[in-house]
């Protein structure tokens, strides 16, 4: 009985928290206005707008706008990648998941981390050596640019929009909770600030917003974990023993609890997390901000370190929250019985418990800053897909003046910002947690296969990549709509047509199979042209000769 209740609870919770609760779902109660948090947030906004002003004066060329001039160091880029990737929701969502079910939180952290070594070993240096500003540059090195860029831009925009909506809705709800601001105001503030950063400061401003946010978040999380451990005399044994004694589930929080139950879903989720990360356009774009492949590699090394460290902290924070919040009347919802604001608020309440009002304000401001950093990176990536891939390459066939292209990307940024605000408001009452899951599945089934095979398989043809990639996109979206998350939970049908929550296993298979079949059946001429072109590409991808920003001839 207890076990089935638990499973039911988990199944109710899983879609919500899962994709790191990249959105805060459910109803939230507006808090009273929190002035410390607002002051700290205003300081952050002033500082970042100052940086944007500074960056705007240094953003003249296309390379400045898309790639911060290619002058970011590996260490800085590592921090910026961490800042881009550690969303507010992965901070609040994973610590909330640990708070609710203990060990299971760790499973998600690990899933979100293991994509990074794969990106480093298989993609990063080749991508850096072949591309210029977007991952589509690398894919279209030898494939036909018009068709392949249309597909890549499509993959980018779908991923960016889904991710962006989830972030906007999460932002609105979170800010309502933390600052006591009206939902609509919160969404508009986030949208306007992100438009300002990206339009004026381009990649340079975005990078520094992400770096500052990463440093603040890592500092805040370290402080919280340290305070928790200090109260436990730095003994993990004591932390876990106390948590087990206090938690409803008792000893069960120390072992896997059923979040990953059937093997097909487990493998499918694993694939989406691992290869989805390797296909996120706003992450791939970051590799062009460094001067060469050497720095690109270093940036992943640093990013993996920061992200891994951060996830270990969230685990301690989640357990710390169990020890310090459960049974503490100050944080218990008098009506519901759980903690106020739901499990995703565990880290926020813990901030107050260990550091008082001041630190609570600091963590709230950091959470807001975190959202800004993530949405800025997303918007810039979407804008570059529109201006660089669609406008300059597909519509103008590469014959476009640099100033004009930058102008288009600025207009695209503003349009995306307005779209994000609009969609954020439209989706206010919707459960948007599935969107991040879908974004990862699409990234893993469209962007990743075409990027990976364009670098590794010489017989890949444009037709194969185009049809296979489109198949991956259609399969991922269809399976998601017909699956339990949308078909049952949102549309209210009694039974799902597609039985699994995570489509990646099927959509990735469809993409790879489609690419293979339509490439090998392409005309002989086309295949042999591709094989010839592959040699040049291969040498460039391995040695960096002729790569963007390289100093040799």
């Amino acid at each position: 009985m207890a076990k089935s209740c638990f499973l039911l609870l988990i199944s109710l919770f899983a879609p919500g928290i899962l994709f790191a609760a990249d959105s805060i779902s459910g109803n939230v109660v507006k808090q009273s206005v929190n002035s410390t948090a607002i002051i700290m947030f205003l300081v952050f906004v002033c500082a970042t707008l100052g940086i944007t002003y500074w960056a705007a004066r240094r953003t003249r060329s296309r390379k400045d706008f898309y790639a911060a001039g290619g002058n970011i160091t590996g260490f800085q880029n590592g921090l910026a990648i961490a800042g881009d990737y550690m969303s507010a929701a992965s901070f609040l969502g994973i610590s909330g998941l640990v708070f609710a079910s203990g060990f299971d939180g760790l499973i998600y952290s690990i899933g979100f981390l293991v994509g990074w070594p794969i990106i480093l070993f298989l993609l990063a240096e080749r991508l850096r050596n072949l591309g210029k500003y977007t991952f589509a540059d690398a894919v279209s090195y030898r494939l036909h640019p018009v068709r392949i860029r249309s597909l890549a831009a499509c993959g980018t925009l779908v991923v960016v929009l889904l991710y962006l909506v989830a972030q906007m809705v999460g932002a609105g709800k979170l800010i309502q909770l933390l600052f006591g601001l009206e939902y609509h105001y919160a969404v508009v503030i986030v949208g306007v600030l992100m438009i300002l950063y990206v339009t004026f400061g381009g990649m340079l401003a975005t990078t520094w917003v992400q770096i500052i946010k990463a440093v603040l978040l890592l500092f805040g999380a370290s402080f919280m974990a340290l305070m928790v451990m200090e109260k436990m005399d730095f003994s993990f044994e004591m932390l876990f023993t106390r948590a087990i004694n206090l938690h409803d589930k008792g000893l069960a929080i120390m072992s896997p609890g059923g979040l990953v139950s059937d093997p097909v879903s487990a493998i499918s989720l694993g694939l989406a997390l691992m290869f989805g990360t390797a296909g996120l356009p706003h992450i791939l774009m970051r590799f062009f901000t460094v001067p060469n492949a050497k720095e690109a590699r270093k940036s992943i090394f640093y990013a993996t370190g920061f992200i891994g460290y951060f996830y270990i902290l969230t685990f301690i924070i989640g357990f710390g929250a169990i020890v310090m919040l459960v049974n503490n009347p100050e944080y218990i919802d008098p009506e519901g019985g759980g903690i106020m604001g739901g499990n995703n608020m565990a880290a926020i309440h813990l901030a107050k418990a260990v550091g008082g009002e001041m630190f609570l304000g600091f963590i709230s401001a950091v959470a807001f800053a975190t959202i800004l950093a993530v949405v800025s990176g997303l918007t810039l990536s979407g804008a570059s897909a529109i201006s660089h891939d669609l406008y300059a390459s597909v519509i103008k066939h590469g014959k476009v003046h640099e100033g004009e292209e930058i102008k288009v990307s600025r207009i695209a940024t503003i349009c995306l910002g307005i779209a994000a605000i609009y969609l954020g408001i439209v989706f206010e009452q919707q459960n948007v947690a599935y969107m991040v899951g879908l974004a990862f599945a699409i990234a893993a089934s469209v962007n990743f296969p075409i990027l990976f095979l364009s670098m590794y398989w010489k017989k890949l043809t444009t037709k194969g990549a185009f049809i296979g990639g489109s198949l991956g996109l259609v399969t991922a979206v269809t399976c998601m709509i017909l699956g339990p998350t949308i078909w049952v939970d949102i549309l209210g049908n009694p039974e799902a047509i597609f039985p699994y929550k995570h489509p990646a296993l099927f959509s990735m298979t469809a993409a790879f199979a489609g690419i293979y079949i339509f490439s090998v059946t392409d005309s002989r001429q086309e295949i042999s042209d591709m094989e010839t072109a592959f040699k040049d590409q291969y040498v460039r991808s391995q040695t960096g000769l002729g790569a963007e920003g390289s100093t040799q001839h």
Binding site: I107, P117, M254, Q552
Partner: protein, 107 residues
């Protein structure tokens, strides 16, 4: 540029580089995949393994150090790759470029 690509492609040293790096990066990628999927499949099929305590008088289960180990090993493997690629592989690549592009003197 094309002529240089061709020259480098025909150089056996290039294929030595490509072979070495390919083997190294695939081995590491495979290591990460095996470790991660072993972890996930234990959770899916034999979760009780991760519920075993470290010792009789400990509440800490094997699942926790193993999970933390997966995070740390991922980081260490990236470090190993970066170290070897940034020193050994880049040097070979640089030598190839020096030899075929800079020595030939053509722009």
């Amino acid at each position: 540029m094309q002529q240089f690509y061709k020259k480098i492609y025909d150089d056996p040293k290039f294929h030595e580089l490509e072979g070495k790096r390919g083997k190294f990066s695939w081995c590491l990628a495979l290591a990460v995949l095996v470790i991660y999927y072993a972890f996930i499949l234990i959770i899916a099929f034999r979760p009780e393994i991760f519920a075993i305590p470290l010792s009789d008088n400990s509440v800490i289960t094997w699942g926790i150090p193993v999970g933390v180990f997966v995070i740390i090993i991922s980081f260490l493997l990236t470090g190993i790759y970066v170290w070897r690629a940034n020193n050994e592989f880049d040097q070979i690549g640089q030598d190839l470029i020096e030899h075929h592009v800079k020595k030939s003197g053509t722009e």
